[in-house]
């Protein structure tokens, strides 16, 4: 019989621009050290080389920012999520902020329960292209029964149908100079993307757009946005280049009914 874990917390955190080049392994080590600094009563594994009991959600590729990373932590004693958040945030480096935390009442671990992810990605096209053209391309893309791509794993190349892993894609315009060319719904309002565009505006290429998407993620089926853009380029002879990827959410549950990892219903 498994023992029900009571002193467990699931936390949501950001990985900002400041820390986006840190590998997943280094991020884990960073949390271990931050926990030691905070003096929070983290539980240690048993055995020869005890280490803190932490489980992370889906690893993030180097260079990608996120406002919705998750981690599960076990403690020796019961701890209120608010106290946990307040105390740990004092010991985290710039760019990493715990934004929410809840008591974990189920045994499920975050790594195993991730099923989807939402991304905002900034792309540019080397040739001039209208919003409506891209809209049409996306519509036709999503009408396809299958979208086969080549996926390179460690040793072999395999053909994968990524269509079932795409749950939605929207195109948004980037209106940095305040031009009101588009309908409000079509304008990117993601602060992570907009701040980035503002900071690097002079160095960015032209014809910028933001793709907003929900994709399968996790151990069962995982689609990285890079593959999706590659598929778009292949099928429609476009040349979109990815400028920035931002993860805006991670989702648990099933594709038909994704849920928020902190147990709120997603849609």
């Amino acid at each position: 019989m498994e023992v029900f874990v009571i002193n467990s917390i699931r936390a949501k955190f950001t990985r900002g621009e400041e820390v986006k080049y840190i590998s997943h392994l280094d991020l884990m080590k960073m949390f271990e050290r931050a926990l030691r600094r905070s003096g929070l009563p983290i539980a240690y594994s048993k055995g020869f080389n005890p280490h803190p009991q932490l489980v992370f959600g889906l690893p993030l590729s180097v260079g990608v920012t996120s406002e919705a990373e998750y981690l599960d932590l076990d403690f020796d004693i019961e701890l209120e999520p608010d106290e946990f958040t307040e105390r740990l945030n004092k010991f985290l480096p710039r760019g990493v902020v715990i934004t929410d935390a809840k008591k974990k009442t189920e045994k499920s671990n975050i790594m195993a329960s991730i099923a989807g992810a939402t991304y905002e990605i900034l792309i540019s096209s080397s040739t001039y292209v209208e919003m409506d053209q891209i809209k049409n391309i996306l519509r036709s893309f999503l009408e396809r029964d299958e979208i086969i791509i080549q996926k390179q794993s460690k040793s072999k190349v395999k053909m994968v149908d990524i269509r079932p892993m795409i749950h939605s894609i929207y195109i948004k315009s980037i209106n940095v100079k305040g031009d009101k060319l588009h309908l409000e719904n079509d304008i990117c309002d993601d602060p992570w993307i907009l701040n980035y565009v503002e900071k690097f505006y002079d160095d960015l290429p032209e014809n910028l757009f933001c793709l907003s998407m929900v994709l399968s993620a996790g151990s069962v089926a995982n689609l990285k946005p890079e593959y999706l853009v590659k598929a778009l380029n292949n099928v429609y002879d476009c040349d979109f280049e990815i400028i920035k990827i931002h993860r805006s959410g991670l989702l648990t549950g099933k594709a038909e009914r994704f849920t928020d990892p902190l147990n709120e219903v997603y849609n």
Binding site: E18, Y21, E32, R33, R36, G63, D203
Partner: protein
């Protein structure tokens, strides 16, 4: 002067977090309140530089000053450098991504000679004139310190001033003088002249070197009698009282020494005759165990590190080791913090200590007999006998260890092929000890790693007058040892003798090597300590083009009365003492360590440490 490094660049280089900063405990200041900006440059990659204790200390010493902002700069790796040059990105600091060209100070730490080309490359990348003579009031002062600064001459063309010795006090004195200078409308030379009043400051511009016809040095004299004839290094008399940061930067990415370094003491009582550190860091000064426990507690809390390393040149010589380690175990065990004990002499006490302190596999212990025969060990004053080694190894094997690393040097003064064969015999005895250890006690799978480096004569050692063996002789010795050592349990490795040759040249070099450094840099030499980037041929071309004979520096035996390039630097240990030690080496006599009896090295003039 703020630089934006695009994602396009960072996405396409190895380990981008080398360049992005923001580590825990890194210092962020409001630039509007800053009047002195100091770029602390380590002329190697991030992982190497961040492992260096001196940089950690001085970074915080400078940042304790409200008007000063010290930021870190490392040598960009080859891939990053080429992208920086392609995109006209100058060398930048990690803290604020600022170009260092408009800084007030650019300071280099000189840890090994093989980093000199990186210094020139970093200045070039910063768009700061490489030659000090071409700098104007709009440029930073380029300064340097660290162990290699004790022979500053090869860098005399590039560095405005050197800080000799331990930096905690002198660096503050220089900053104080700078504030006064900056407010007055004075020349660069005025500032440099002013700081020569500070003990430990060496401004090479103010000294003239003259040469004899045979290329030896005729004289090194101050241009004006207001400058000191001899520049005396600085030491901190009381380590308990000096500033030691209670927080240090915790890197994200794995660095070479990714742990708290707790500095037990400075200096070494031993006086091994080949070891520069054993002389230049004298006298021995300890921190008390109470102070160390206090520091360890604070550092652990502020960093969250899982390991503390007790650092010093010879940890077993620390007089309060028992109190310290007991205290550490008591305090750190509940926090799941380990501690490691490098440079420990192996006996039953230390093995027991290691078992308590470290959760490591019992695979590797390191021993450094340095030479293969008792005769040669006496020559180098390495106070270790074969019996000591065998006893230590036996204790280790009986305690469950199964692997040892043995360090030796080839090319030591007076060495014969018999001495070299002694190394092989010693190694085989270690195998025998393992075989004689009961099976239930020893660990499984014996492995002995023998590493042989090439001896490099260094300034301020009794061997400073010695010739280094030629590359051919070193190679022959390495091959001879390889032949003799054949044994399935022993893995033998050796250092590249070409690198040791270059190290020997610059270690005892003079001002005439400046042009060779620039020429080699122009030919693409950098990261010379990284095997894959070391370009021996290019270096030989550079010497040839500059008309400088490298063998004159590396392979020539000097007379005792020759003026050496570093004779105007005073590290406390006298030339007279070094000469006496050199003569004792030749007659195979040993010298007692500082705790047994004073050997009269001269450092007593510093009025501190074990001498008193």
């Amino acid at each position: 002067m703020n630089i934006k490094i695009s994602d396009k660049i960072l996405q396409n280089v190895e380990k981008p977090s080398r360049y992005t900063g923001n580590e825990w405990n890194s210092i962020h200041k409001n630039l509007d309140e800053i009047s002195i900006r100091f770029a602390f440059c380590f002329p190697d990659v991030y992982e190497v530089g961040m492992s260096h204790l001196g940089m950690k200390i001085l970074y915080h010493v400078l940042n304790e000053r409200p008007e000063t902002y010290c930021e870190r700069v490392f040598a960009p790796w080859i891939d990053m450098e080429s992208k920086m040059r392609e995109n006209n990105i100058p060398l930048f600091t990690l803290e604020t991504q600022s170009s260092i060209r408009q800084f007030d100070f650019v300071g280099f730490t000189l840890q090994y000679e093989m980093s000199y080309t990186n210094i020139i490359n970093m200045l070039d990348l910063s768009d700061i004139p490489i030659l000090k003579s071409e700098r104007t009031r709009e440029h930073p002062f380029v300064c340097a310190g660290g162990p290699c600064a004790y022979n500053p001459e090869p860098l005399a063309d590039f560095v405005d001033f050197f800080m000799l010795g331990e930096g905690e006090e002198i660096i503050n004195e220089v900053m104080d003088a700078y504030i006064v200078w900056k407010d007055a409308d004075l020349s660069r030379e005025d500032f440099l002249r002013k700081i020569t009043e500070i003990e430990g400051i060496y401004v090479p511009e103010f000294y003239v070197v003259e040469y004899n016809h045979d290329n030896t040095i005729k004289s090194v004299l101050p241009k004006n009698n207001i400058y000191p004839e001899k520049i005396k290094k600085r030491i901190i008399k009381d380590l308990d009282k000096v500033f030691f940061p209670d927080k240090i930067i915790v890197p994200f990415t794995g660095i070479v020494h990714d742990r708290i370094m707790l500095e037990l003491f400075r200096g070494c009582i031993r006086g091994c005759r080949f070891c520069q550190a054993g002389f230049i860091y004298r006298p021995v000064r300890e921190r008390t165990s109470d102070k160390l426990l206090e520091l360890a507690g604070k550092l652990q809390q502020s960093t969250g590190y899982e390991e503390i390393s007790l650092t010093s040149l010879s940890t077993s010589d620390y007089s309060q080791l028992k109190e310290l380690t007991e205290g550490l175990i008591c305090e750190m065990e509940p926090k799941k913090v380990n501690f490691s004990l490098p440079s420990l002499r192996i006996d039953s006490f230390s093995l027991e200590l290691m078992e308590k302190a470290q959760k490591v596999r019992k695979s590797g212990l390191t021993f450094a007999p340095e030479a293969g025969s008792q005769r040669l060990r006496n020559v180098i004053n390495k106070g270790v006998t074969e019996e000591d080694l065998i006893n230590s190894v036996s204790t280790a094997f009986n305690g469950g260890w199964s692997g040892v690393k043995l360090y030796f040097m080839l090319g030591l003064p007076t060495e014969t092929f018999e001495d070299i064969e002694g190394i092989a015999e010693l190694c085989k005895k270690v195998v025998d000890v393992y075989m004689q250890t009961p099976k239930d006690k020893r660990g499984k799978g014996l492995s002995i790693n023998v590493s042989a480096s090439s001896f490099v004569p260094k300034p301020f050692t009794p061997f400073q007058w010695e010739a280094q063996d030629s590359i051919d002789v070193l190679k022959e010795k390495q091959m001879h040892l390889k032949e003799k050592i054949k044994n399935k349990y022993i893995k033998y490795s050796w250092h590249d003798p070409y690198v040791s040759f270059l190290e020997a040249i610059f270690a005892r070099g003079d001002r005439r090597l400046g042009k060779v450094l620039i020429t080699a840099f122009r030919k693409g030499c950098k990261f010379d300590s990284w095997g894959e980037h070391f370009k021996h041929e290019k270096w030989l071309e550079a010497f040839e083009q500059c008309g400088v004979d490298p063998h004159y520096y590396a392979n020539r035996k000097r007379n005792y009365d020759e003026i050496l390039p570093w004779d105007h630097i005073d590290v406390g240990v006298t030339k007279k003492f070094l000469k006496k030690e050199s003569e004792k080496a030749n007659s195979e006599q040993i010298t007692s360590n500082c705790k047994e009896a004073c050997s009269g090295c001269g450092v007593v003039s510093f009025d501190g440490g074990v001498c008193n």
